[in-house]
């Protein structure tokens, strides 16, 4: 199939790329742009490992065509730190041991960011409901929840 020229804006930077229409945003982020933070696990929209933010909202990059993401602000885990300074959620995940194998982490953190951006003081239940689409195969949910709660109460 014919390649199409597209422009993707990822973490504030524009990239011009030639992609086939069936290629997912996840494939293009990982294979063409070398941004391997977003992961493929189930590939069918159940696990959330491929979560990235489009215009601030969490979506599944494994079920989104790269070609559809043109003209939108795409944020991946690589875009959260400011230089060497990690995002508060990243710091909290480290501090609380909310990372085990790390495969779900980028999706968890990006979704958590969108939850806190929408509601800076969510309840425990609201966080859990928000994270229902992110599976942690190591089952480290409590530490993940603690890390997010810590950020929501402004703990440094």
């Amino acid at each position: 199939m014919k390649k199409q020229l597209i422009e993707l804006k990822v973490n504030g930077e524009s990239h011009e790329l030639a992609v086939e229409p069936q290629r997912t945003l996840l494939e293009v982020l990982r294979e063409d742009l070398g941004l391997t933070g977003a992961k493929e696990a189930c590939g069918t929209g159940e696990c959330g490992a491929c979560t990235v933010l489009i215009n601030g909202k969490p979506i599944l990059s494994c079920l989104t065509l790269a070609i559809e993401a043109q003209g939108k602000e795409i944020t991946t885990i690589e875009g959260l730190a400011k230089g060497a300074e990690l995002h508060p959620l990243q710091k909290a995940f480290i501090r609380y041991g909310a990372i085990q194998c790390g495969y779900c982490t980028s999706g968890m953190i990006l979704n958590a960011k969108s939850i806190l951006d929408e509601n800076p003081k969510p309840s425990r239940e609201e966080i859990l409901k928000g994270l229902e689409g992110n599976l942690c195969r190591c089952t480290g949910y409590n530490k993940i929840l603690e890390a997010i709660m810590a950020v929501s109460i402004g703990e440094e």
Binding site: M1, E20, P21, Q22, T44, G48, L63, T64, L131, E132
Partner: protein, 287 residues
């Protein structure tokens, strides 16, 4: 897992989309949210030669409220938009609650109500509330249009009356009568997406004078080949004073109207329980 190759179109008007669909018919698939389409394509259950992305068409992501006509929902309106929409929350709160149950946070940001209905899963959460709201769908194709009730739209598991050249351009929910309220109750599997095992929606209208049941509508999902209305159960309550004994009788009848394929005993029992709860909650909301 990769999506098989296809030729891609991104029309900028409905007419253009209709003419592509008319040209390619069942070789083409429309793309809205992609949460069902791309999963089916990855699993090779669907292999369209052409994918027509509707997202380049302006104005399809709108919800409109009209005091006379009611609520109109466009084909690109996502579940998340419905969940947060002030008019939906005020007038059809149980529809917003049902949409909040669909998929996951990510899926609700991507998936559309119309896509969910076109997928025609027997366990669709949106279907039961929409059935009891007597929702209609406007279908168009290059040379015409028709309006069908949601009930007629579903013909079997994952099957609708939609012709290959047709698309759904509008979900229309008529204005709610006074002294009415709805409720959606469900139980779901403990799986990654928590598929609904039984979903029960009730929409109740009471007579303002004597509080008898002017009309009740009972909808169930995940208990039959398509989402269904439990009409015999409705007849038990219509025109009567809503009392505990009668509610139990109607709930029992609703459970007998189901045709669950798997876990039939459990699904019937839960249908009875959830219909009863939904009637009670709808009554509470009116009073």
């Amino acid at each position: 897992m990769r999506i098989p190759k296809f030729e891609y179109f991104s029309p900028s008007s409905i007419e253009e989309a209709c003419s592509l669909l008319y040209k390619y018919k069942s070789e083409a698939k429309l793309l809205a949210g992609g949460t069902d389409l791309f999963v089916k394509m990855k699993k090779k259950e669907l292999l369209p030669k052409f994918v027509i992305n509707l997202k380049g068409i302006e104005g399809l992501d709108k919800i409109q409220w009209d005091e006379k006509e009611g609520l109109k929902i466009g084909p690109l309106v996502t579940h998340d938009t419905i969940v947060h929409h002030p008019v939906v929350r005020e007038k059809f709160d149980f529809l917003a609650e049902a949409c909040f149950k669909i998929g996951t946070r990510q899926v609700r940001n991507m998936g559309t109500l119309v896509g969910n209905l076109c997928n025609a899963s027997p366990s669709s959460d949106a279907a039961a509330p929409l059935l009891v709201l007597e929702t209609k769908l406007k279908l168009i194709h290059l040379y015409g249009e028709r309006t069908v009730s949601l009930q007629e739209f579903f013909v079997g598991p994952f099957q609708t009356i939609l012709e290959p050249q047709e698309m759904v351009v509008e979900v229309w929910i008529p204005k709610e009568p006074p002294q009415s309220a709805g409720s959606y109750q469900y139980i779901h599997k403990a799986s990654s997406v928590g598929e609904t095992l039984v979903g029960a929606a009730v929409f109740l209208t009471l007579d303002p004078k004597d509080k008898t049941c002017r009309e009740v509508r009972i909808g169930l999902s995940s208990v039959a080949p398509t989402p269904i209305r439990a009409k015999a159960a409705e007849r038990i309550l219509n025109g009567k004073r809503v009392e505990e004994k009668l509610i139990k009788e109607a709930a029992q009848m609703a459970s007998e109207e189901t045709q669950p394929r798997s876990r039939p005993w459990y699904r019937r029992e839960m249908s009875r329980v959830l219909v009863e709860q939904a009637i009670l909650q709808a009554m509470e909301k009116i009073q």
